[in-house]
Subunit: 246 residues, 2 copies
DNA sequence: CGAACGATTGATTTTCATCAAGACCGGTGG
DNA sequence: CCACCGGTCTTGATGAAAATCAATCGTTCG
């Protein structure tokens, strides 16, 4: 781990800590395990996987071996239909678990690519299943994580099925904002690692429409945009825009 | 169970069988459990829940108690945004497990309503979690079922984000076709329990656009439609239409 | 039968995609 | 240093797809 992390780690270091900001350790913490269970879980974590910008974490069709959680960096995940059209199904950022869609068949359905240099921690899926059997609290937490993915996808169906362009972009920004805040960054001022093309693909829009939506939100005074840097003037106003439109 | 089932049940009746077409028993079969495990699982199934047309199976916000599987009938599941707009996230038919999106928070995120008289079997989620710990094969099967839901939602994101109206309707028909076939009905000739409004809502279209898409597919000779009755002339042709358009 | 609802079809408007041109930005090399 | 180049972003003009508005036709059900 020769990478500087923006988030500072606790000075009281737990056992087995060779990864100062380990995402899976933090994930395990949230499961409220006992000290012994925590040790069992932490022992199985593989730390320090690194993916450089543009590298694949996995490709569709590859067998599921390890679930990953992001420590730092950004990933995009996409599926492709039979003729090669790609649809981005999600962007992943620090704290997100990656690869759950492979559980159904044991093979990844998606391509997952690093959008910048990204560090990850992993846990073998078979080991996690074993731990889930031995540690009910972990099992529940894992089910919650799976369920959260389903909830997120349903929310996205609402965005794609019922919202117009500007609302979609607003929801996208609010979503990024919430997640940046959750991992210790500013909720109102951040850097988007994806380009307009990728945002448009994700939201079911063209890149031009995304650009226009940004411009219009900016001219309405709701945001300030400069390429990939965004500042949200007022979160409530942006939420209001999504709300009132229907 | 005072309802006639279209699917005929096996004459060799297993133990505990007070539900001739029990969906959960069939689901458990697919997990390839031992005889003893099968018994443990089947014992926990609650048979014979009935919901009449238009009745709620559950509402958003209610606590998750029981996961259900459909024996006969049809359900629709929808979420609503903060101003009351409803988005249908799925239609459920015999063999489908219902309620998985509640696992994340312990509360249902969705409203689920019977689209016709529907019979279900249930299993308490807490009991299923316990069984998953004791029976690895069941745990795997459950994870697969959860993962399949995620895969399905991602596929739907591709439909909503990248396809035009007629393609969406074609995908919808092909999807119904496959699932009807999977539960023993005709793949090419079936009754759709949902109306145009509901199809449109699900596909991110207006009811008029759905109606026009049906009419156009019919005039192209690909299908025959009469209200809710559909006949697909040739599955491959319909698939071709989806494929070539991009 | 008539009212109510769903489906279809047509006319018009809106939204977004497409096509096209120019601006901006960072990097490279003369 | 500055000109040039490739890529991304923005902005404008135009066209296509779907939404909206509206009328009609069938069915079903009191």
């Amino acid at each position: 781990m020769n990478k500087l992390h923006a988030v500072t780690s606790s000075p009281a270091a737990p056992l087995f800590l060779d990864c100062p900001d380990c995402g899976f350790m933090a994930w395990g913490r949230r499961a409220r395990l006992s000290a012994r269970e925590t040790r069992m879980f932490d022992e199985r974590i593989e730390h320090g996987r690194l993916k450089k910008h543009h590298e694949f974490l996995h490709r569709a069709g590859a067998p599921l071996g390890t679930l990953y959680i992001i420590t730092s960096g950004f990933l995009k995940t996409s599926i492709s239909d039979n003729n090669g059209h790609e649809q981005i199904t999600g962007f992943s950022m620090p704290g997100d678990v990656v690869g759950m869609e492979a559980i159904a068949t044991g093979k990844y359905q998606c391509n997952t690519i690093a959008m910048e240099d990204t560090s990850l921690c992993g846990i073998a899926f078979a080991a996690l299943e074993q731990l889930n059997r031995d540690i009910p609290a972990l099992q529940q937490h894992f089910h919650q994580t799976l369920g959260a993915e389903i909830t997120r996808d349903h929310d996205m169906m609402l965005v794609l099925g019922a919202m117009r362009a500007e609302e979609r972009v607003a929801v996208f920004l609010l979503n990024l904002s919430r997640r940046f805040a959750a991992c210790g960054h500013s909720a109102t001022c951040f850097h988007m690692p994806m380009n307009r093309q990728e945002i448009g693909n994700y939201l079911g829009l063209t890149l031009e429409t995304v650009s226009r939506a940004f411009s219009h939100l900016a001219s309405s005074g709701l945001i300030v945009v400069n390429n990939k840097e965004v500042e949200i003037g007022n979160l409530a106003d942006l939420q209001q825009l999504v709300r009132q439109s229907r």
